[in-house]
Amino acid sequence: MTRLARIIWLLVLSSGLLAVGASAQVDITVTRTVIQRIPIAVVGLRPSGVSGGGDLVAQALSVLVDDLEFSTVFEVLPASFLPFDARQVRLGEEEKVLPSLNHLKVQAMVVAELTQQGKDLTLEGRVYNVSRGVFLGGKRYLGEVTAIRSMVHRLADEVVLRLTGERGVASTRIAYASAEKGATELYLMDYDGHNPTIATGNRSINLSPRFSPDAKLLAYTSYRDGNPDLYLLNLETGRRDKVSASPGLNIAPGWSPTGQWLALSLSKDGGTNLYLMRPTGGALRRLTNGHAISVSPSFSPNGRQIVFTSDRGGSPQIYMMDLEGANLERLTFEGEYNASARWSPRGDKIAFASNRGGGGFQIYLMNPNGTGVQQITTVGVNEDPAWSPDGRHLVFTSNRSGRKDIYVMHADGSGQKRLTRSGSKSFAPDWSP
């Protein structure tokens, strides 16, 4: 073997070792080039555990199965496939069924039980590696009847964590804008479209919501006081702070991965230029110059680069620069309009909207150096992509049903699903960490 081959081998080996080191607590190691789902059996959730009948149990089961399927990690086996009555398995007796599942090449099992005392629910779940017959962990969740969906979401995330080492996204939320009665308000909903709640409610125009990396703050632009100013909403306390109110635009914020910086566009000095500021409002630093329009910043996971849209070359295109505003590179060259770039939390892809195919915007992915462009939507007009925190899914706006609504899909474009059905125009989503 020559020097070249040896060094490359070493590189491959060292990458492998690093990956093993990082995932030491992972039980089933999955190396997937195309999506290979882990077959999982969901057992338990006996209807008799709840006093008011089987409705709550059925709801819990349906949420759990949907969460596990959506994760793209699991393939939930239909109950009819199992050699026993899956619903009748009691918590504590589940180990008896493990051998028969192993026989069927099922790799994982989750057993759950829901019990009720008055208004209070207890959900307990346990996760098993079937092929090794090993108990991986269990958790118990307490809450009121109204919290049932969030309790099940947390169990689903626990299952994903125990089996893959990565946190699931079932407990995350999506923020979006919704136009109704002459106003545009911001809403928050669960990642599966349930429980939409209003976040602004000022009967003004509120736009471009962006969750902080700790998910505690929501940055957005509001015309509440006449000028498009930048606000931070504390999602725990409900407190609102106006953090940027320069004359003209204060729009389209993007958080740095550590939450130390907000990038935003200001038009106070002619043109619409990108600036960095502290979320508390201080330390304003200019990143772009000139009379062009530069908007819609999104940080790389290492926090060193920013992708954004600029018309400095005559048409809106996607550019990249670093945190110092230096080293500007143009990334898109096809189509008259490329915009809304969002960097994947995994670092290897940038999602964006482009009209390059003709007939309106579609969502595309590219490598961070502009190569490897890949179209992932085709039906209707699709825009505003935003990544899930695990980089496996995207939320976006589509008009395919005749009106703008929020949709989700897996990062390869499969599994597209509508989330909003309020009857109002919904758009500009962001996915919480």
């Binding site: 081959a5 060094i7 080996l13 772009t288 680069q305 060259f333």
Partner: protein, 293 residues
């Protein structure tokens, strides 16, 4: 046939290169125009209010807007021309690497040696080996396709009497993209070994200056400022025509400042302003210098 294709690519690159220079001149002229008109507008605006200066000022503003739009169009064309040029260079790289691998010949199509930025044959490739008969000493043994999830493959070099399978080999661009992805994820150690591999194994390809730049950036990301300064220095000295030089100078200046070597930092930033006065990087250097006062 392959040589013919490489030659065509080379001619195309040269032509584009010329087109690109024209655009640069045109662009600079327009920029100059806008600057002088801005000066006029300011002067007129100062006098406005009296002797009919307002209408002249309005004319100038309209003309200025027109020029700003034109400048942007030319800026866009310049970016596109540069992009096509770099795409051609990449294809040329890939083709040359392929030619070297397939035939074992030293591919020197169309006099590439004079350009300074076009790729030379892979190191260690015997120049005189007959096409179609690659012996054990010809054809560089090559790594499996990059990517952390890729399983190691049997090295193709162990089967010397068969042509190398091109499909299983990483192109220069694949090695580069992988290293760049590691950088963006913040896996700086992997990025550093990736860019170093690129510089070692594809030393004459078009992405060498960029790899050199990102190698410096990877050290910068690790706050290893001394190493970053060294790598940026290599870029500035060895590839003075690279588009990355102004950014490298800015980073080098910043790295000196991070090390609290103010005099050196100021020197580099001043030099950047003097050498590339119209670049965005020079404006950033100015911001940094102002902040120091």
């Amino acid at each position: 046939m392959v040589r013919y294709f490489v030659w065509l690519l080379f001619v195309g690159t040269a032509l584009l290169s010329n087109a690109c220079m024209v655009k640069t001149e045109e662009f600079q002229a327009l920029q100059q125009d806008v600057r002088s008109l801005r000066g006029d507008v300011n002067a007129v605006a100062k006098r406005a209010g009296g002797d009919g200066g307002v209408s002249r000022s309005t004319d100038l503003v309209a003309r200025l807007e027109e020029l700003a739009v034109e400048t942007r169009m030319v800026q866009g064309q310049l970016e596109e021309a540069n992009y096509r040029l770099s795409e051609l260079s990449k294809r040329l790289d890939a083709t040359e690497v392929k030619v070297a691998r397939l035939s074992g010949e030293a591919g020197r199509p169309g006099g590439t040696s004079g350009t300074g930025q076009l790729p030379a044959p892979l190191p260690g490739v015997a120049p005189q080996a007959g096409a179609g008969q690659p012996g054990p000493s010809t054809g560089q043994p090559l790594p499996p396709r990059g990517g952390t999830s890729a399983l190691p493959q049997a090295p193709t070099a162990t089967v010397p009497d068969k042509p190398v399978m091109q499909g299983s080999l990483p192109s220069p661009e694949e090695v580069y993209t992988k290293a760049l992805n590691d950088y963006h994820k913040g896996n700086y150690d992997l990025a550093i070994s990736g860019f170093k591999s690129y510089l070692t194994f594809y030393p004459k390809t078009s992405l060498v200056p960029n790899s050199q730049y990102w190698l410096g950036e990877s050290y910068y990301g690790q706050r290893k400022y001394r190493e970053a300064i060294r790598e940026f220095d290599k870029l500035i000295k060895e590839y003075p025509d690279s588009a990355k030089v102004p950014a490298a100078m800015l980073k080098q200046g910043n790295a000196y400042l991070e090390l609290n070597e103010k005099a050196q930092g100021k020197r580099v930033l001043q030099e950047l302003k003097a050498k590339f006065p119209n670049s965005g990087d020079a404006r950033r250097a100015q911001d940094v210098l102002q902040g120091l006062q």
